[in-house]
Every structure is written in structure tokens, then in C-alpha cells.
Point group: C2
Chain length 526, copies 2
Amino acid sequence: MRVLYGCSALLLLVILAPRVCEAGKILVFPSEGSHWVNMDIILQALHSQGHNITIVRSSKSWYVKENSSCYHIYTVQVERSSYQKLANLMTEFLKFERGALSLGFLQMAVGMIGSFVDVHKIIGEYALAILEDQELIRILKDTKFDLVLTDPCWGTGIILAKYLNLPLVFNVRWLTPIEGHLAIAPSPLSYIPITRSGYTDKMTFFQRVKNIFFHLMSQTQRYLVTKLAYQPICDKYLGPGNDFNDMVLDADIWLMRADFVFEYPRPTMPNVVYIGGFQCKPPKPLPQPFDDFVQSSGEHGVIIMSLGTFVSELPADITKKISAVFAELPQKVIWKHKGAKPDNLGNNTLVVDWMPQNDLLGHPKVKLFVAHGGTNGVQEAIYHGVPVVGLPLFFDQYDNLLRLKERGGAKLLTIQTVDKDNNFLEAIQEVLNEPSYTLSMQRLSRLHRDQPMEPLDNAVFWIEHVMRHKGANHLKAESYRLPWYVYHSVDVIVFVAGAVLLFLLTVFFSIRCLYTVMCKRKVKRN
Amino acid sequence: MRVLYGCSALLLLVILAPRVCEAGKILVFPSEGSHWVNMDIILQALHSQGHNITIVRSSKSWYVKENSSCYHIYTVQVERSSYQKLANLMTEFLKFERGALSLGFLQMAVGMIGSFVDVHKIIGEYALAILEDQELIRILKDTKFDLVLTDPCWGTGIILAKYLNLPLVFNVRWLTPIEGHLAIAPSPLSYIPITRSGYTDKMTFFQRVKNIFFHLMSQTQRYLVTKLAYQPICDKYLGPGNDFNDMVLDADIWLMRADFVFEYPRPTMPNVVYIGGFQCKPPKPLPQPFDDFVQSSGEHGVIIMSLGTFVSELPADITKKISAVFAELPQKVIWKHKGAKPDNLGNNTLVVDWMPQNDLLGHPKVKLFVAHGGTNGVQEAIYHGVPVVGLPLFFDQYDNLLRLKERGGAKLLTIQTVDKDNNFLEAIQEVLNEPSYTLSMQRLSRLHRDQPMEPLDNAVFWIEHVMRHKGANHLKAESYRLPWYVYHSVDVIVFVAGAVLLFLLTVFFSIRCLYTVMCKRKVKRN
């Protein structure tokens, strides 16, 4: 006997008597690269629900276009140099990850923190450009928006939401520049690995020691970024007593781009909504050239490769090695690659500068995904149940792929070793030939899809919830308003310890006093 | 412009292509009173989805009937005395709350812990009766259930799930005998009040000191209950190394009978699903006698009063006072009351031994709910937006009502003072005459109802999720498997502190050594 899901009866009810929501006015301060690609998907969904979307973009934005048929767009002028610095940073990171910079760990750590501060100072300039554009500010105030939606990996939207006194919703995974949960939820470091530690939720003793060290480093980084890049703007435009980190904690809803099929289970908070994989959808038919190419692959199927939105080209020696490995395979390969084509490209390899990644991953002929490990790609691989050979470049990419590896769905290489020996070829062959990789990813896919509500609809629901109730104060914990020593009951512990000590000392001295008096009496009597 | 909710498009899709679920076999170990009333609602929903429900009840159960047209029921024989003790405990509590027992706080605390241990020993006997019934055990093993569903305020289901090696789902708010979250989620005592403390999430310094003390007391109680009532059964039937508390943490899904409109926002875990208010539903038309009575109330409307499932009668002096107050009111009153009717009953008061509480609360003529503050009643008041005059008796009832009071929806009395002066009358008049009480409850009602999914459907979804995936391991945090000193990184802190101390000592002695050598040389030279 087969029965319908429990929820279907409810769903029918909701459709028969649909609840309605006034069209809202949403103000967006976007970020760049895949962060914008993500945001755009949510904005499209909100737009299709009839909401009005206003975006304030920087004049040098790489991804957010100046004109749009769906959104109202305002552009503020910023210096070209600033965005160039962002691009330079990526190249620096890539060099470091390859071991091409002859720097020690500490040198690199200090350099990285410095670079992060610089990058966020540049983003601060984008916030300043908005705040100093009096005409724009007048329009933003007059429009009476319902909320600000922003990706808090950049601080602009956080400051502007406070300045305009609007409810705030985050589309978040990173927060200037720590993993979002570390700012809002209790995070015991005994089983929550810090990003870039390369650890899982099962750590040895010495891994736990180092994990705490990594945590202190990332907190230092966060402190400096806040202090040097954003707090001065808050002090100038919001007045004293407006702490940037308090403003972060004051966000109404955190739409977290993760779920617990991808992320290790960990403590969370009532105003965190998990929307991991919201960008995934059933595949559409492939455009003609892609379809022809995929169909021609026969029984061997297709491998697709992409290194994401930020890295336009890999060093030539690595590209050449990858190309040579692909040429050896019986599979067809679609390779998203923007740089110069390597001269040893095989006949089986199609190099493209764009591909319909979601539709390809959902195609039954696609057998393997060579991925850099950005959150988007990893979530799409999970959604479609496609195994991965991971080639992480920087940031969280190794950690993201590690989560797939741990669950049996991926094989990992590093950029230092990908061109050594037969590493890359062997990894591809292992993942293609051992069914466990595909089976593991299919299991993750089933788990991920088995949710009461599609993640994108969940995101739209909670954004509309904030609009309907003018915030989500009822979901914000009191913890966000406590100083650290109260939160951790340090004052109570000191008080109780003091009281116990005082009691013990009193008892001790009383006994000693009593003893002395008694001894004296004894002496007297004698 | 008005637009449909974001979720509607999805809902349509789900209905057009409904996901299906095999009919499951669910084994239930129920509890008593309102806990069973709750469980029955979920079981009815599961039954209506085609799942097979098997219940193992105790022969002396007050609420779980021996025969059912919906469920397979097995009855195990237990001593009558055991259930009587449960009833005696309630009477004792009521006396204590009234100040009728001339006991000091410590005497009462010790007495309460002792009573709790006794009660759980009795529940342990129900577990033993099942384990020793070899024919029943054979049937339970042969049936190959998909999961055990239980309310962990009684430990029976937890032990049996382990014994039968089945996935485990909790329908939970209390856990032998602490609030469920305290066992599974990080719970900073700086803003999480312990039940029966009477505090909110905003505590003064001395309240926080006392809150920690209450926590230690409830943990002691939990330790003793586990150690004396359940662990011996685990040791005997499950073999060594099966810790009862570990088995609690190993539950797959915790269906928590709360939500964050009712409960203070606090940390939670991925396998906790909030189903607060799942028992609430739109009102049905009232049965004839109730409808006639309600309609006769005119513009003044109706007050309803109930003290829940456990307390059958209040002391006569209090009953008489309540009756006198009701007689003074222009409203009609429906009073659920099982004891002897007071002789001063007014013409406006209808005493009943059952009432359709949900349908009455949803009736527009019902203006006020006089409630003892059980979770069910409080959730129903929130759902229907009816203000409350609270008359808490024991356990969590004061704390539940405090949550309503804090949010402006209730006025609280205590059982010690309800019959003093005009307390009761004034409370009723204040709540009826000041619109803020009704407006606050209506605001809570709007917030509570604005969820992506009905709580009962959510409960059914996650039970089916566990059946589909044979557990929910992917949602269980690694923290549940760590010893406390690892979880809190105590070993790392001791190690690092030791290493730093060693380093400092080495530096100190090296310098001292160097200084001594240099001094000696100086002396020699002189």
C-alpha cells in the first residue's frame, strides 16, 4: 500500500485558501561573483512573486549589470583601483596555495589578514559612496522599503539597514570573514572545525588544539576587519554606541546557504533558515551544441569541469596536464575554461567559457564533476547525485569538498599535486569505476531532496514573513544582547567562587582563633 | 497589488507530482494524561496516512484504552499500586504549592527528588513487564517495525527502541525530568531560565546565580532518576556499556512541543523539529448544549475555565471563592470541573466535566480563558488569540503562563493568593477590559500561524522521513558522542595551560641560572 506524504493534505488546504502577501519593497546591497549569482536567484523568485526589488550597485561591479528589466538599479561611483585589488587578491591566494610564494605560515597569515582588511576597506568605500550621495539617500529614505536584503560577506548592507532603520535579512554563508554560524550560534570547537583547518567534526586531540588556534586567528582577522574597515563608518554616520558586530547580530533572519546533508550537524538558532541548494532545480533540456556533444558520448558518458566564477585561468603548466589527462579518457569532457586553450587538447574535450552547469549535472550521461569546491557547485553535485573529483583552489573550497569526501562522494586533489605523476588520471578513474562514489552521492541527493519545502520557497517565505511582521524580533535570542562575560556566566562564577573562598577563610580563621583561645586557656590552667 | 505566498507555486508542484511513502509500522510506548492526548493526535494523523500503529500500554493506564478501532494494542500487566503513587504525587504537589505542607525548601526539594525517583521506578516496572513478556517481545521483534515513537518523559520507549534496535522519534517537551533542550542543545544559563525558577530570558545577576543553582538541582534529580530507575534495567537487558543518557541522545528526531512564539528563542539542534501547537485547529461548530449557552451570553461573551487533565478537583475553599467571583460577572462561564459542585454557583455558570476546548477557544464569543497553564492550553490560547488569566498549579505551569504574561497576553495569580481579597475578580476584569491583552494574544496568534507548514504535518513529515531513511543519522551532531571534558575542550585547555606554564618556568629557571652564573663570574673577577 502506498500513501501520500503527510503534508499533501495541508498543501491542498493552502492552495484552496491561499494566504496573500502585499507586494513588498526590497532594498538589496549585493556582493560579487558567485555571491551575486546566488542573490540573483532569490531576487528573481521575489520578483516573480510581485515584489519590487531595488539594487544599489557599485559602478565597478563585475557581475551586477547597470540595467535590468526586473530590478530598479542605482549605481554609485567608486574608484576602479578598488575592484582591481580584489582581483589581485585572488591571484595572490592562488600563488600561495600552489606554494609559489616563498613565505612562511606566519608571514602569509599576517599578509592575508592585511589583504582582507584592505579588501573590506574598499567595500567600506562603496558604503561611503552611498552614504555621501545625498540624492540617493533621500530616494532610499522616501521609498519606505520593507527590508534590506544583503550578503553579509560585505558589510555595506548591514550599515545601510541600520542607517535607514529597516529590518534586515541575510543571504549568508560567510561573514566578514568567518563562517556565519560562528557569529550567531554556540560553536563548541571540539567538533566544529574552523574553515581552512581541513578538519572534520571528528578531530584528534592535536587537531582540536590547532582548531582552537585557527579560531583565534580568524577571530583576530574579524576583529581587525571590523575595527579598521567598518566601525569608522558606523561611528561617523550612525553616531556613537553603534557597534558593527551588534548590528550583525541584530539581523532578523539568516538565510543560510547550507543544509545538514552538506554541513556537519551543529547547534543553530531559531532565526537561521537553511536554504542550501536553493539554486538547484530539475534539469532543462540542453542547448543544441551541448546536447549534440553529450549524446555523442555513447556508453562512456560525460565528465564536466568548472573552477567557478572567480578564477578565470589556471597556470599554463597545470592546464596542459589536465588537458593531457582528459585526452586519455574514453569519456567526453566539457571544460569551462576562460584562458588560452592548451595546445594538447584531445578530440573528446570541448572547451567552453560558459556551460549550463545545473542542466548538465542533471543529465543522465554526466558521470563525473571535476569541481573547485565552491558551495554552489558542491550543492548542485549533491542535488543531482553526481560524484566529484575535487580540485580546491582557496578559501573554503577544500573544506567544502572534504564534506563530500567524508560521505564517500568525492576524491580530493590539491593544486600542488594535481600535475604530479598520475594523480589526476587515477582520481578520475577511481571515481568513475568504483560505484560507491555514485551511490554515496545518490544517497546524499535523496536526503537533500527529502525536505518539507523547497529551499528557495523557504527563503521567499521567510523574507515575506519579515515583511508581514516588520521584522522577526520573536526569533532573536536574548544572548545577542548580553556582554560576553554575562553570556558565559563569568561574573556568576567569580561571585560564587569568591563567596565560597570567603566562607572557607572565615571558617579557617574562626577555627584558628578558637584554637588559639583554647590553647591560651590550657596554658593559663597549667 | 496582492500576490500569492512564495510557497504556493511549490505546493502546486508537490500536489501535481505527489511524493509517495510506503505505509510504515510504528511502535508506540505512550505516557499518561495530556501527554497521551498529545500523542494520540499525532497517531491519528499517522493512521490517516495509512501507517500501522502498534501501542504497548500498561494494564493500569488511565488514558490509553484497551481497545481501539485504529491501533493494534498490547496490554502488559502492572501493579495497581504504581499508578496510585502517580496520583498521590499530584496531590502532594498541589498541597506544597498552596503552602499547605509545613516543609522547608530543602525538605521539599529532597522529598520531590525522592518522589520523582519513585515515580520513574514505577515506570521502569512497566518497561520490565514488557521485557519479561517473552511472547510480546517475540511479536515485537517479528513485526519488524520501522521506528519507535515515544514521549521521553517516561523512559520505557527509549530502552525498548534500543532493545529492538529501531530508529527512535521523540514527541517531547520533558525528559526524565528536565526540559528537553537541556539534554541536547547548548543552553547558556545566562538567558535560559530553568523551569520552576519563575524567571524569564532577561535575568538579574542574582536571578542568574539562582538559575545555576536550580540547574544543578534538576541535573541531580535527572542523575538520580536515571541511575536508580532506568540504568539497572539497561544493565540487565541491554548489557554493559549501554548508558541510558547516551540512548536518549541517540534519538533520531525530537518533535518538540514548543515553538518560538511560545518559548524564548534559544540554541537548538538540526534534529529538533518544532511542532508547538500541533493539536490546534480551526474550531468546529459547538455541540448543541454548549452552543445554546454561548449564544445566550449576549454582548458580554463567555469565559471558559479548565485546570487540565491531571487535577480532578481543587480544595473546596478555593472552588467556592472561584464560584463566587464567577457569579458576580456579567459574562457567562463554562467551567470544566470534576469535583463536587460548589453550593454558591451563579446562574451564569455552567459546570461540565468535559468541554470542546479548542472549539470554544475558537468561538468569537469566548473572551477569556482561565487556565492552569499546561502547554496544550497555552498553545491553544495562542492559536486562537484568547487572553488568559493564569492559575498555575505545579510543574511547568507557572513558567508557561509567564511566557504569555511577558508578551502581554496574560495576568497571573498563584494558588496561594487566588482566594485572597479580590485578586481573582480584579484579574478577570483587567484582562476583559484592557484591550492590550486581547491585542497581544492576537499578535502571537498571527505569528504562530505564519509558518511554512502546519506543525502536525511537519511532525508527520519527519516521522516519515525517519522511516524512508531508516533513521536520521545525518542530523545527529558529533557532540552527542563526546565525553564532557572533550566537548568543553577541557583537555585542550589543561594541555595548553600546562605547556605555557612549562615554557614560562623554563624561561624563568634559565634566566635565574644565567644570572647565578654571571654573578659568580663577577665575584670571581672581583
